[in-house]
Amino acid sequence: MLLAIDDLHAGYGAIDVLRGVSLHVAAGEIVAVLGANGAGKSTLLRTISRYETRVRSGSISFDGHDLIAASVESVVRYGLSHVPEGRQLFTELSVDDNLRLGAYARDRRDIEAELRAMYERFPALAARKNATAFSLSGGEQQMLAIGRALMAKPKLLCLDEPSTGLAPLIVEQLFALIASLVADGTAVLLVEQNAFLTLKHANRAYVMENGEIALKGSAGELAEDPRVRAIYLGGSVDA
């Protein structure tokens, strides 16, 4: 198992947002975490990447490393890259520099070859190589954020609501990209608000509600499950 989380309780300060979350991701999988606003999805990713949150109990193991004891900087060295909410790009630096810095945590001898591969994957970024990240469109920024994370050559890529604020066509491209990553051997843990589209592309999914895993199963099963809709919009199952 690449990532295994067991009975995780975590949150901010005095607040526990996650209340006993268990979840796993195997190599080569796309796993989605769905749920309404405030369900704890982003908190889950932050806790895996070890920033901002405080863990009360439970365990997170990644590729043989205990992440509970790890720092943010070391998580990326272990091979887990996180594209956070808001992308967190180096807006004042060029596209090229953003990508190069993505490789900060690893041996950089092959960085030029890796960069070439990245520009082939993202032709739009190649065209704007020397522009500042700030000047990119929302879709380009999202691609750059993912590209920067990929420069670390991660075994697992965590994406926090990558489709937020993007036009439908761009969202389609984004999901195609995610599918291609898995073909290249990178597993993906995807947090999304957009349930229907995500379930079309993921292998498995978890649905969170109020800091707990309310439902889990294969994407196909969950897409048919009326309880998903009820969790998002309240009311009874048959509504």
């Binding site: 990447s49 920033y51 943010v72 900087e73 070391s74 990326v76 060295r77 890259s81 996180h82 956070p84 992308r87 967190q88 790009l89 180096f90 807006t91 004042e92 630096l93 520099d97 190069r100 810095l101 993505g102 490789a103 900060y104 945590a105 690893r106 950089r108 920067r148 994370a149 420069m151 670390a152």
Partner: protein
Amino acid sequence: MLQLLVAGVTVGSGYALVALGIHIILRATRIVNFAQGEFVIVGGLFALSIVQLFHVNAWVALAGATILGFGLGLIYERVILRPAARFGEISLTIATIGTIFILLYGHALVPGWGSLPQPLPAFTGEASDALNLGGLSIPYQSIWVFVLLLAALAAMYLFFEKTYYGKAIRAAANNPLGARLVGIDITGARAISVGIAIALAAFGGTIIGPITLVGGAGGVAISIKGFVGAIVGGLESPVGCVVGGLLVGTIEKLLQGQFSYGVADPLIYSLLLIGLLVRPQGLFGSRAAVRD
């Protein structure tokens, strides 16, 4: 008039380096270092001691003072700024003021430094040697000051714009969370930034030392004028800081030529208040960084 301009650009070079140092520390740590001017004084004294102890020329002293400045900056960050940062902005301001006390009064206690300003040997010839251009007298040291300012700026540009680690430090200042997520040690980046800023202060103190003397109690005034330069040019813009510093030096000399010394300084401080109120982002800045 032109003579005043020469003098203005010379002291302005010192302010430019102070302003740039304040900018670098602010960008990396969100701290305004009120003690920056004291480090200029101490840096000049480092050079003086190196000259006196090892009987070397001013160039070696410049290199030595800059390196010592870098080390002092690392200590300053680790011992004072980092611990105080946990208690918020007001505590930091007070801690930098405490640092002013330590450096201002402490340097007078060091054997060989004392409380009175002392001359530093010129970089070439005597401090009084000057180039005569049809009535306009340009001290050779002033030329060196300006050339060395440009050299320091070029070095800063190359480091921050062209090297991988320089970019990583900028990335850490630009977006600390993003930097941590790619594995950059932002604590280290902050320490190095402060080290560089203090090295710049020591560098500045050494190059203008032959003209303004080194040591003495002028550090607070240097800090404020450097800060005025940074505000006028734009605290968030390195180019703005340098231009602002040169501008403040020039304005100071022009005002001193017109009025008495006593009038010039309050007018420059008024410039700070007006600048803060009217255009807080400065001439070269684009973002309002003053409120919150």
